[in-house]
């Protein structure tokens, strides 16, 4: 009887480990399920890339952040949509590479429209870069 229970528990544990392993190997993290680290406007984010606050951005790396700003452009490459946001800076932008499950919403967006996007912050080159982004909200009046 005891051996039987141990065997069943062992089987369940092995199955759970296998499921966990497969999820870790192939599972894509959905940004909607990740806790938001901070919310800021595109101009606030870009300001931090150029001033003494830039070190604070290190705290956001690999974390989900929400950014609100007007759309400068929408590009598509290899079925991946990227939304570029203005931020009151002449040469710097916020680049948001969208999750593929967001493609269906892109027809509803247009240049100049203000959107609230959540994505995983990866760092800064000239622009701030976010991947796995999702649309949280859009507001035509800004």
């Amino acid at each position: 009887m005891y051996k039987n229970i141990v065997f069943k528990v062992s089987v369940v544990v092995v199955i759970l480990i296998l499921v966990g392993f497969v999820f870790a190997m192939f599972g894509k993290k959905d940004t909607s399920r990740i806790k938001t680290k901070t919310k800021l406007s595109s101009s606030e984010l870009l300001q931090k890339t150029t001033n003494s606050d830039s070190l604070l951005l290190n705290d956001y790396i690999e974390k989900a952040i929400e950014v609100t700003g007007p759309i400068k452009d929408i590009t598509i490459k290899d079925n991946k949509v990227t939304i570029l946001l203005h931020g009151g800076h002449e040469s710097r932008l916020v680049i948001c590479e969208m999750q593929t499950n967001q493609n269906k919403y892109m027809d509803q967006l247009s240049k100049g429209e203000v959107v609230n996007i959540k994505g995983v912050f990866k760092g800064v080159l000239l622009d701030a870069i976010l991947l796995n982004c999702i649309i949280i909200e859009k507001n035509r009046n800004g």
Binding site: A24, K29, K77, E90, I95, G123, L126, L131
Partner: protein, 180 residues
């Protein structure tokens, strides 16, 4: 009249001082590792590059964390163990295109010579590239090989059969005029 002349002179001086620049904020870099055990591929679609046709200068900056893998565990290993993205967040290339002729319409195949830096190790590279003058700017594409030993990328013994010693890197940059 004097004012107009001064304006023209100032404009000409500015034109001389500021060479024409082209930019891509969304260049693509893909790398491939082929072994008998498994093939690994990762793509980064957010690569920054500047190109100055006047002096053939080219600069590339790659955020290592922006590479996307099919397997999320592999992406984690890449950033935390192999590349150590916290310590070395970017790879860069600075160089120039040898014998580039901006007056040629269409395609030209040239060698780009420059310094490629990854994990704080700089190696000189000569990369064969195809340069195409497009309606909006330039398309520059090519590929080269990187030895992981050259850049202090250490793979644990258990995983070494899974990772190739030489990684193939391909790139595709579509440049547009840079209005800064």
């Amino acid at each position: 009249m004097v004012k107009q002349l001064l304006f023209v002179c100032a404009f000409l001086l500015l034109s001389i001082a500021l060479p024409e620049q082209y930019i891509t904020r969304q260049g693509t870099v893909t790398f491939f590792s082929y072994t008998n055990v498994e093939n690994i591929q990762a793509t980064n679609n957010q690569v920054l590059s500047l190109f100055q046709p006047d002096d053939s200068a080219i600069a590339v900056s790659i955020l290592m964390r922006a590479f996307v893998f099919e397997k999320s565990l592999m992406q984690e290993h890449f950033n935390e163990s192999y590349i150590e993205s916290d310590l070395y967040p970017k790879a860069t290339f600075e160089g120039s295109i040898i014998d580039f002729d901006p007056s040629i319409e269409g395609e030209q195949t040239r060698i780009i010579k420059g310094d490629f830096t990854l994990k704080d190790v700089t190696k000189q590279r000569e990369i064969k590239t195809k340069i195409t003058k497009t309606e909006k700017g330039y398309l520059i594409e090519g590929e080269f090989n990187v030895s992981i030993k050259d850049h202090n990328i250490k793979v644990p013994g258990l995983l070494s059969p899974n990772i190739a010693e030489t990684i193939n890197v391909s790139f595709n940059f579509q440049y547009e005029p840079y209005e800064n």
